[in-house]
């Protein structure tokens, strides 16, 4: 009976294997103590187990409490992980790009390279806007307990962020792979290192996003949010909220401007498009 109860709680938990094992260990020890105590009072084993479980509380309610904490922690950690991944993607791109030979005479890039570069820039814009939205919201909530609405926003924005990073990484990979053939071994190795960094960071961001996803609807219960304050963070959040209400317009405008800037550059190779 106790095993079934513990299994029920365990199934409802949104936790890593280590956290789950710790929670299960604590509950098992607690129930064993409780049953021992009741049996020592002359209650039979089965009734003692029933009473111990009943006193411990409903599996669903306890899972909600544990998951609420896990959600709060994920909301605070995931944006930082994602921001770090975004920085690594950009750093990987720069690492690969700065090692490219600067042609003495500007050359027209191939269509594949132009399209890939434009796609990469587009992806990065989406990732940037979504990432900014997540970071500011997470920052504003750092001092307060998150709200289910915040969690939903974070999850949606995280999907856009990771998708944007993935598109950017793939696009840049195509651009850089296109110029890989004409490089020395040393430059090619740096280029490959940059590509690996970008792809790894994107995968890590994706894993971070997947790990904050709850198992089922209604499993997360968090208190009401605090009102946006008048601090700098609060003001930033107001700005990001304005963008958040117009995400397509913002992303499209930024992407078109930067994409056109890059494509109309005389030299649309990667180095040529860099400032």
């Amino acid at each position: 009976m106790i095993d079934d109860y513990i299994e029920d709680i365990s199934q409802r938990l949104v936790a890593t294997a280590r956290q789950r094992s710790r929670i299960v260990e604590d509950i098992r020890d607690h129930l064993a103590d409780s049953v021992e105590q009741l049996v020592s009072q002359g209650i039979d084993q089965r009734t003692a187990e029933e009473r111990a479980i009943s006193a411990f509380g409903s599996a669903a309610q306890l899972a909600i409490q544990f998951n609420g904490q896990a959600a709060a922690v994920a909301m605070r950690r995931t944006p930082l992980t994602m921001a770090a991944c975004g920085v690594v993607v950009v750093a990987g791109f720069l690492l690969a790009a700065i090692t490219q030979p600067l042609p003495a005479v500007p050359q027209a890039a191939s269509i594949v390279r132009q399209v890939a570069f434009f796609t990469a820039v587009l992806g990065l814009q989406f990732a940037f806007v979504a990432g900014l939205r997540v970071l500011v919201r997470a920052g504003a909530r750092w001092r307060a307990t998150p709200h289910p609405g915040d969690q939903l926003l974070l999850r949606r924005a995280a999907v856009v962020f990771v998708a944007g990073l993935a598109v950017a990484a793939c696009g840049w990979t195509v651009v850089l792979a296109d110029v890989l053939g004409g490089l020395s071994n040393r430059r090619a190795a740096t280029l490959v290192a940059g590509i690996v960094a970008m792809i790894s960071a994107t995968v890590i961001a994706g894993v971070a996003m997947a790990r904050q996803r709850p198992r089922g609807q209604g499993e997360i219960s968090l208190p009401e949010p605090v009102a946006t304050d008048r601090s700098v963070l609060g003001a930033a959040e107001v700005g990001v909220r304005w963008i958040s209400h117009r995400p397509r317009m913002t992303c499209t405008a930024v992407a078109i401007v930067s994409g056109l800037t890059a494509m109309t550059n005389a030299d649309t190779t990667v180095r040529g498009a860099l400032p």
Binding site: E25, D26, I27, D29, A55, G57, Q61, L62, Q69
Partner: protein, 108 residues
């Protein structure tokens, strides 16, 4: 007593119990019940989210031991927990004194 009345104070109560010495989860629940003359009768499982929250905040530390062949986690008050407990004691005394004054009603 309605359990929601206790919820906001559970962390402070746990810290206060741990101030007297290390305890495991079951011990904490038992102490809560005994010391409150059975008034605090929460679902026993609710103490664990509170303990994990306090541990994450650095207010308590835990060590795993073995008792009767089964693993047992014992919680101890840490220095930040002592500071938090002092602050929450001050706040509570101030708050409860104010509430008592009002609930007692104005003198005739």
């Amino acid at each position: 007593m309605r359990s929601e009345l206790l919820k906001g104070h559970l962390d402070s109560l746990v810290l206060a119990l741990l101030e007297e010495g290390p305890l495991h989860g079951y011990g904490i629940i038992e102490q809560l019940r005994r010391r409150s003359d059975e008034i605090f009768d929460l679902p026993e499982g609710t103490v664990y989210p509170a303990l994990y929250r306090l541990e994450r905040a650095g207010s308590v530390t835990s060590t795993s031991t073995s008792v009767g062949g089964r693993p047992r986690r014992v919680y101890r008050l840490a220095r930040p927990g002592r500071t938090a407990l002092d602050a929450s004691r001050r706040d509570w005394l101030q708050f409860s004194s104010a509430v008592t004054k009002i609930l007692r009603g104005s003198p005739a």
